[in-house]
Symmetry: none
Subunit: 331 residues, 2 copies
């Protein structure tokens, strides 16, 4: 799982990098790089590019990472559409063609065909590209897995136990052997206590993308599946004191926070995510996140909720656990 | 199912006009919508659009929401660049102009100017637009609201009833007065039936960002809060037949789908979202989305689950409902 956590970080580094590129491109544009006449025209070296595979793409971010051959060499080409600029709207509206798609009541949709210079695609070429470049941009497909209580006992739990993923780094934090200076709040109680600290993904430069992790002092709770009503004091303590600590340190009230657990988690030592509402943190989707407030209510109304309930979660194609579900013909 | 769907399509094409629309929609689909010559050209109504304000935009998602005047009426125009399609890459590489920006070692960046028909901008026009539309698209801070069962009865329900938001466009779809040719699947049963069609946000050019909506035929279910075990046959029917229809039409199995409801929904007529797993669809976060599979389990284990449970959801600063929660000192 350390592997897959590292991979995820690599993924998000990829998007961060792209975001920075977009930001830079925007700045370039604002600095008057706009006039087509001034630009250095160049030979279209991509006209001879031969695509061999799409490594990944994002319909939401309008980008695509492609592997192929350029003049006989391995290459990676990254395309990303550019943000829509306010200062080009008038020209865009006057200079484009419109094609009607659909009309219903007050709503209508069109396909707008814009002059090419107003609608550029940011293009990055890596050539020659190595296997490392290719892997960096390769996305893994995910599959939604349906795990009954029995599936957990017969497939997931044996897999977790056999892997015995190391959580030494978690113990180092709890024992103050590492990251001591990063701790935002600590409750040392062995039963209900926890340590709150910033997630690695957060650079702590602004609260817009606030991301903290609360790590339980108790070491024998692997995940949601282990939770019973005896853990309610722990969960309520994390919820209450965690929110207070965030308010005190970052001036963010509880109404600005999304507090949740992951299932499957990326490491099997109970931890809770605190992210800012409105920040679309990776992993905050309904298919993986469980609001702590809901977890508490569920345990209050049904002591065996997480023992018996069918849970759904995504697994990447290269995840060993997915293989186990396939072997068991549960996918 | 293909047969009966085809039959239904033929049946619904009662008038010549409808028959033509169905034929056109079909031809468009088969041709991938690509050929510029075949498309319904229309007057560029946006050439006279006067922008008054940018309501919001996203550099990440490459979209912009604009308020302005169209033929003397208030209008909202939404532009969003389209995802990059794998099947158009060869044409894109051969038919574009490249402008060099930067070269460093194995890395180089360019601005690519593509043929307009390969690089369209999805355009949605709301006209005439009301203050409500403007507010809907205006970027706003959000607050997480905690709604108990009693809060729903005393705050939320009276507010919804008083507002009486129009769902005329939903009724138009159910009555085949609009969007007939967009229907992907239909079950006409008045109790358990539904209509499945693409969400406006999806341009249907690639399945990477697949987004469909299933709209219940029943008109008296406002939201999650109205659901009781009597609706289980409806929910199970939507889940089962919706997944089958997506598999048949788009070749996406259930393990690739995220199927969920929103609470609060954006309109109070029961509907279910089908999006592709891995596509971070707006609104798929744990704070607003509820997996249909969980909803079904919850109603099976507790008939009064959605009457009694405290639910959490984000509301925007300008949402009237947020004001009501503030008045009641529930925030």
């Amino acid at each position: 799982m350390a592997d897959s956590a590292a991979k995820r970080e690599a993924d998000s580094a990829g998007t961060d990098e792209l975001a920075q590129r977009v930001k830079r491109a925007k700045a370039d544009n604002e600095n008057g790089g706009g006039g087509a006449g001034k630009d250095p025209e160049c030979e279209n070296i991509l006209s001879e590019f031969k695509t061999s595979a799409v490594l990944s793409d994002s319909a939401r971010e309008k980008n695509i990472f492609i592997r192929g051959k350029l003049a006989g060499q391995e290459a990676v080409v990254i395309l990303e559409k550019t943000p829509i600029r306010e200062d080009s709207l008038a020209e865009l509206f006057s200079g484009s063609r419109l094609k009607l798609e659909m009309r219903n009541d007050i709503y209508s949709t069109y396909r707008l065909q814009a002059p090419p210079q107003l609608n550029e695609i940011k293009t990055t070429v890596v050539c020659p590209a190595t296997e490392k470049h290719v892997k960096k941009y390769q996305r893994q497909e995910s599959f939604l897995v349906e795990e009954t209580g029995e599936d957990y006992q017969s497939i997931t739990l044996p897999y977790i136990q056999k892997q015995s993923f190391s959580v030494q780094w978690v113990h180092n934090i709890l024992e103050k052997k590492a990251e001591v200076e990063r701790i935002v709040f600590e409750d040392p109680d062995p039963k209900v206590g926890f340590v709150l600290l910033p997630d690695f993904k957060w650079d702590q430069k602004q609260v817009d993308d606030l991301y903290l992790i609360a790590i339980a002092q108790q070491r024998d709770i692997r995940s949601l599946r282990d939770l019973t009503p005896e853990h309610l004091p722990l969960l309520q303590n994390v919820f209450q004191k965690g929110k207070e600590a965030v308010l005190q340190r970052y001036k963010l009230p509880a109404s600005k926070l999304r507090v949740y657990l992951h299932y499957q988690p990326s490491y099997y030592h109970l931890h809770v995510h605190f992210t800012k509402l409105g920040y679309e943190a990776p992993g905050c989707g309904v298919e993986r996140a469980h609001l702590l407030a809901d977890v508490i209510q569920n345990l209050q109304s049904d002591p065996r909720y997480y023992k018996t309930r069918t849970l759904y979660f995504p697994l990447r194609a290269d995840d060993g656990l997915l293989g186990k579900f396939k072997e068991a013909e549960r996918l």
